[in-house]
């Protein structure tokens, strides 16, 4: 051949490069992880492989039967180009195939055979190509025939890889996997055999009896293999079958061997339990004791496979379009065609949002409509979801009379109606829904009698009637007092409320504890016009009366012209001095807030001067007590007045009661009647307690007096 055929030469060079490339790939195969772009090339393998098959077969046929082309020009060149192109394509195909083989999902052993026959095609073809110009006729024929065989075998093995081992012959085999209900399931056939088939039989079957062991039929399993029996029925724990699967993965005798698809933890447990529990090949699953480990495990597995649906999955696009912020549509678990639908946000609910589900009418098996306001029409829409199994209609405001539309939902297993005030005719409708496995009727207004007659009709249904008031009496929560201002000029408005709407609120304004004898009943906001202590309790049938809520209100009073304290308040609690006492700003329950004056070592002794003779009816002190913080009512309160005459006169004196126990943080109002006219000066003295009473942790020490306002009227 002259060098005129440049095209040929380029191809030949590429072929050599291809050989090198493939060699390296074979050697480095196990250490390669491909970037995704090369994975794409790998996945073109099934497409590419058709080119070399056709080209090589044509080339080889021309070598074997040269007469086909007799008389054609450049006969030899044609053969060479065909073979060469075929080889180049097979190089590309092999490279793609090697890339593809790094992906998971293939059994390494199956790939090996396919890989080596494929590479043989390439090598044999290459030898054939380089010997084509020589005269070894027999060699060429032999190479050609083996090449054809290699192509066929490679093709078949490749097809088995993608379509499964039985692809070619399966049309001749019979039988589909049939669905068996739990009651009819056999321990071996339906639980054990599928595990063995998946994980063991590929090496222990008629065609491939590793260790001379077959696990594809009960007889062979009992017979065992070259190392003897695999099941030890005397001492099941010592059965080699179990021992092998329990060996560490790296152990040489571990089964399935390292690199093969391993048994899952669950499968191991099931196999173990089955062998220990008689290793029966005939028993039905239900014949095992319900408490036996095997039954429990198998049953568990069974529940998973039992949930099968014979309808088609919905279009994922439709599912996607039905999902929004207020409606969640999702498969009950991956790969399941069955859908679960939940609605949220009652303000966004309308009948239309329920009707839109008609697109997935067949697939909805669970629906949660709790708290959505449902109409009659909605129940009708629901009745069109024929595969519905679980329906939650809690607190939907239905009265139940139209539930008869749900009677024909034959798959409905669980119906929850709690919180709906059901009409008594609903009982008859429900009593016909025998398909139900559970029915939830708490808080539906049914009586005990109605429950028991329903229970008789629905014998196989679990009826949940929920919590019943067991007659325990609970103390009601204290009411809540709401107001704008604690210190008012003319009047202030006070609202009372309670989280339970059925309670009655009793109150007093004269600092007595409200009980059945002395109270006013709260009906509308209270107007308060004078210094008052409001005490409120809540009462309701079936409850104990609440603890009290208390608030003190003050009418803003006279302000003396000049005020002075005989002793400064304690350094830590000096507020704004005397200004604090007349700023008409109530202190809160935080006595460290700076709105309170605190006295401990010296008494509170205040002198107030008026500009002109004044008539004084009452004087009130707003105090704070918190015995745990050593803050007590004063041990002594004294008031003096000085009139025009210029001499002091004591008008009031009291030794307030000392609390007998700690009572928590609380406001206290001490109010005294003076009824003096022509007062020019007023003096008040509040003595802190000393010593603290015996029950107190600080017994013997000095206590505190806290004051924040004085009201003079």
């Amino acid at each position: 051949m002259v060098q005129s055929n440049r095209f040929n030469t380029i191809l030949e060079n590429s072929l050599i490069v291809g050989h090198g490339f493939i060699l390296i790939l074979i050697i480095g195969q196990n250490h390669i992880v491909l970037p995704s772009i090369l994975k794409v090339i790998g996945r073109m393998h099934p497409l590419l492989l058709h080119f070399p098959i056709v080209l090589l077969l044509i080339g080889v046929l021309l070598v074997l039967f040269p007469k086909v082309l007799s008389g054609a020009q450049h006969q030899d060149r044609l053969i060479k180009v065909t073979l060469l192109l075929g080889l180049i394509f097979s190089a590309i195909t092999i490279i793609a195939g090697l890339f593809l083989s790094t992906e998971t999902g293939y059994v390494r052993e199956d790939i090996q055979y396919h890989q080596w026959t494929g590479i043989s095609v390439f090598w044999i073809g290459s030898i054939l190509y380089w010997s084509i110009d020589r005269d070894f006729l027999h060699l060429k024929k032999a190479l050609s025939i083996s090449l054809i065989f290699c192509i066929l075998i490679t093709g078949h093995l490749g097809a088995s890889l993608t379509h499964g081992e039985d692809f070619l012959w399966s049309p001749l085999a019979s039988g589909e996997v049939e669905y068996v209900p739990l009651e009819e399931a056999l321990a071996y056939d339906h639980i054990i055999k599928p595990i063995l088939e998946q994980k063991c039989i590929s090496c222990h079957k008629a065609s491939k009896q590793k260790g001379e062991l077959r696990l594809d039929q009960p007889d062979y399993i009992l017979t065992g293999g070259e190392n003897g029996k695999v099941l030890d029925l005397e001492e099941p724990e010592n059965s080699p079958l179990l021992q092998r699967i329990l060996l560490p993965l790296d152990h040489d005798d571990h089964m399935p061997p390292k690199g093969k698809n391993q048994l899952t933890e669950e499968e191991i447990l099931i196999l173990q339990a089955w062998v220990k529990d008689s290793a029966s090949f005939e028993k039905k699953l239900v014949q095992f004791e319900e408490k036996s480990e095997f039954f429990q495990l198998a049953n568990y597995k069974f529940i998973d496979v039992e949930v099968r649906y014979n309808f088609n999955p919905a279009d994922p696009k439709i599912i996607g379009s039905l999902n929004n912020f207020y409606r969640k549509v999702s498969p009950i678990h991956p790969q399941s065609p069955a859908l679960s639908v939940s609605f949220f946000g009652k303000e966004n609910f309308n009948s239309e949002s329920l009707k839109e589900l008609s697109k997935i009418r067949d697939q909805v098996v669970e629906m949660n409509l709790s708290n959505m306001p449902l109409s009659d029409e909605d129940i009708k829409t629901i009745s069109g979801l024929k595969n519905l199994e679980k329906l939650n209609l809690n607190f939907t405001g239905i009265n139940g009379t139209n539930l008869n539309q749900l009677k024909n939902l034959e798959h409905l297993k669980s119906l929850s109606l709690t919180g709906n005030n059901l009409a008594s005719s609903t009982k008859n409708i429900l009593s016909e829904m025998v398909q139900l496995e559970s029915l939830y009727l708490w808080n539906t207004g049914f009586s005990e009698n109605e429950f028991s007659s329903l229970k008789e009709k629905l014998r196989s249904t679990y009826l949940e009637t929920g919590y019943k008031d067991d007659g325990t009496l609970y103390v009601l929560n204290a009411p809540i007092i709401e107001f704008d201002k604690m210190i008012f000029i003319d009047q202030t408005t006070v609202n009372l409320r309670h989280p339970i709407s059925t309670v009655k609120l009793f109150y007093t304004l004269d600092n007595t504890l409200p009980d059945s004898s002395n109270h006013l009943v709260y009906q509308q906001p209270i107007q308060i016009k004078k210094n008052s202590t409001l005490r409120v309790r809540a009462f309701a049938e079936g409850w104990l009366g609440s603890t009290e809520a208390k608030a003190v209100f003050f009418k803003a009073g006279l302000k003396p012209e000049q005020v002075s304290l005989a002793f400064e308040p304690n350094e830590k609690h000096k507020g704004k001095g005397t200004a604090t006492l007349f700023d008409q700003e109530k202190g809160d329950l935080d006595f460290g807030s700076g709105k309170w004056l605190g006295f401990k070592d010296q008494p509170f002794d205040l002198n107030m001067k008026f500009k002109e003779p004044t008539e004084i009816g009452t004087v009130a002190f707003s105090l704070f007590t918190d015995e745990n913080s050593y803050i007590f009512p004063p041990s002594k309160i004294e008031i003096w007045v000085k009139g025009r005459g210029g001499s002091w006169k004591r008008t009031n004196r009291e030794n307030p009661e000392i609390p007998a126990e700690a009572g928590g943080r609380s406001m206290m109002l001490k109010e005294y009647e003076l009824n003096e006219s022509n007062v020019l000066e007023l003096r008040a003295r509040l003595q802190p307690i000393n010593p603290l009473p015996k029950w107190h942790p600080g017994a013997g020490q000095r206590g505190w007096v806290f004051i924040d306002e004085i009201f003079i009227n």
Partner: protein, 485 residues
Amino acid sequence: MEKEILEHGLNHNRRKFLSKVSLGIGSLALGSLLIPDLFKKSGDIDEDAMMAALPHFAPKAKRVIYLFQNGAPSQLETFDYKPLLNKYMGQELPESIRMGQRLTGMTSGQSSFPLVGSYYGFKQYGESKAWISDLFPHTSKIVDDICIIKSMHTEAINHDPALTFFQTGAQVGNRPSMGSWLSYGLGSENNNLPSFCVLLSRGKGNGQGVYSKLWTNGFLDSVHQGVQFSASEDPVLYLGDPKGMRSEDRRKMLDQIVALNEINYEEFGDPEISAKIQQYEMAFRMQTAVPEVTDISNEPDSIIKLYGPECLVPGTYTANCLLARKLSENGVRFVQLYHQGWDQHDNLPREIANQAKDVDQSSAALITDLKQRGLLDETLVIWGGEFGRTNYCQGKIQADNYGRDHHPRAFSVWMAGGGVKPGIVYGETDEFGYNIVENPVHIHDFQATILHQMGIDHEKMTYKHLGRRYRLTDVSGHVVKDILV
């Protein structure tokens, strides 16, 4: 001439052959330089593919409510009945039981370790004949609905690491909390509420702090962070529109902010920006969703009696139990409660009685309430602390006053609903209540089991961070199949 040289180059001989074969090899080498992963060790897992397949199998539970008893309630006064301790009251803990195990600094200096039995009596309840202390009269009524695990054990011996271990699978901080993992793995059921909510309450007993790191999203997207509800009448603060602002105006403002944030996102590509956008949007929807969920005015009176009237006082454990039910009912994946005050180093008999009173009725009520609504099957409820307490007395022992130190080697929790076997007691401790003798459950086993019930294979849900893959159960954990239906 030029042409001939070219032609010559195409011709081959041995030298050329080798050089061309090496061209094939060289191209692979070049490839490995350009694509660093080309020769990376195989066995890597495709994270995205795995996340797309979540849940990995049919979930038994859709939601979790975790009633965490923070501070570690004593198992010996609650669910682990050890009459032997009463018999040997005041006698020394045998060395054969203690086996030189680690103690905290609070009692390691004690010269003696006197055994102390429960001040409170125990009785058997239900079909499971479970022993429950007299401190839990309501829990003992629902004993046939719960599964008591007496054989929990942990690795940490102090509160903070033990809590962090329970919640995040590691004793040091910065890993995502269990609720965040579930939010990441399963997403939200109701897009108008956070998928992970946290409710705090405080008992009167000696307390230990809880910190936001316990509900952190760790290295996961911050949308998976737990949202702490406040203990007031407004559980979510600043949710209402300010006075004078209409909802439409708020919407317009948010749209503008989103537009600005999107410009920023285009420029920097920081995922936190898109998380922020999502959070604004969710907050807007929460403005209507939260008041609807937290409104207790439409709860029937019987519910108030079931939980106890305290459920009307915001911020109490009881109110949180009721709120937990309402959140869970509305599709919140994971509601985490913490009740503080269980750390009884001294004064145990009095303090634990108060603590039990705080939680007994409402915890039991939650189970009853979920059950009567048909929700218990799909909601997993867990009750328990971060470790147990010692069988010996910390400090001075008196007939009616004693204390117990931290004990990580055995403690009790209970679970209910969500596909957990009801009415069983699992695991056993020795007669001294010190070591586990049957069916130990490690924290990672416990976490694996919770994930399993939610349809997640704990080994497959991973997140790559700082060059390695993390999971909630770190590198161990077995699903406790024995306690599952």
